[in-house]
């Protein structure tokens, strides 16, 4: 690391981000639901993996499902997806990820759904 690259700060970045390594701007978890924006043409600069992700996300899928179908690690899909969300080619459909456990209302929906299985 070049010396100029190093800037100390009184508050460590992992404190500011509550220990998260990535910005919360569009935090994508394995269960985060993604869908391609149908009216956005694929950018010419998009790489093969970005194109494949937009293609598989013609319908709604979690990032984990997209990763499994594309045989890519979720960690890589998350990075590619974040960029595509930033450029407006991909949308996050599920509510923003939370650090807290799901609320009662949501837990009851899950419980009722499981009882119908």
């Amino acid at each position: 690391m070049a010396r100029d690259d190093f800037h100390d700060h009184p508050v460590r970045s992992y404190v500011i981000t509550s220990g998260r390594a990535h910005p919360s701007r569009n935090t994508i978890r394995p269960e985060t639901l993604l869908v391609a924006e149908p009216d956005m043409p694929v950018p010419p600069s998009a790489g093969r993996q970005a194109r494949a992700l937009l293609d598989i996300c013609r319908g709604m899928l979690s990032s984990a499902e997209a990763a499994a179908y594309l045989r890519l690690p979720v960690s890589l899909v998350v990075v590619i997806a974040s960029d595509l969300v930033d450029t407006g080619h991909l949308s996050i459909r599920s509510a923003s990820p939370r650090h807290a456990p799901p609320d009662r209302d949501l837990l009851e929906k899950v419980l009722n759904g499981l009882r119908k299985l």
């Binding site: 319908g59 690690p73 459909r93 599920s94 456990p101 419980l111």
Partner: protein, 203 residues
């Protein structure tokens, strides 16, 4: 078990869904996580892999290499649309938290964990319980997967052997059965509703 993608429209989440939640199905290798997930999932279980770099301690380092090796860790998962608006993912993860951490945010905001236990290898699950209790505060329930020929114990004996709190649900389960697997998941969600956990950020 793990299927290739094919152009089936039903692989997609219904367009009405606006929220996704998850349960971790945790347990040692071969304990039946993928079987349980496959019993209740509406899609054939899918697999994702991450690689981790590990120090090859106790292994002679090969000249020119830095004494590190990479290991592939797999996670199988399934999906249940529990209501027109909510989809539930079941992520089957190895017992050790250092493995779940390969999937960023995997434990964050989860409903809880269903811990699968094999009575032939009870000691394999001790580390899992330690981590759930001490490090996550996440609600969990225990499902004892009954393998043919595995010793049958009284559930209260197992509760003592596993050193579980009196409130922690423990059920027997046949991971091959949809009904039995669903009942184990219901025990967990019911527990999460009755004993809300104060937020303990995992990140």
């Amino acid at each position: 078990m793990v299927y290739e993608s094919s152009d089936q429209p039903d692989r997609y989440v219904a367009a009405t869904v606006a929220e996704s939640v998850k349960i971790l199905v945790v347990g040692a290798f071969g304990v039946g996580k993928t079987t349980l997930i496959g019993s209740v999932s509406e899609i054939a279980p899918l697999r994702t892999e991450e690689t981790m770099t590990v120090e090859s301690v106790g292994v002679d380092s090969v000249a020119g290499l830095d004494g590190k090796t990479t290991t592939t860790v797999a996670m199988d998962f399934g999906r249940i649309t529990v209501s027109p608006e909510v989809v539930l993912y079941l992520f089957g993860t190895p017992g050790q938290r250092r493995f779940w951490d390969l999937w960023e945010g995997l434990a964050d905001g989860a409903v809880g964990a269903l811990v699968l236990v094999d009575t032939r290898r009870i000691e394999d699950s001790f580390e899992v319980f330690d981590q759930l209790e001490l490090r996550t505060g996440m609600p969990f329930a225990v499902a004892v997967n009954n393998f043919p020929g595995s010793p049958r114990y009284d559930l209260e004996q197992l509760r003592t052997a596993l050193d579980l709190l009196p409130d922690t649900p423990i059920v027997t389960c046949d991971a091959r059965s949809r009904e039995s697997s669903a009942a184990a998941l219901i025990a967990l969600v019911d527990h999460a509703l009755r004993f809300p956990v104060t937020t303990k950020a995992l990140a």
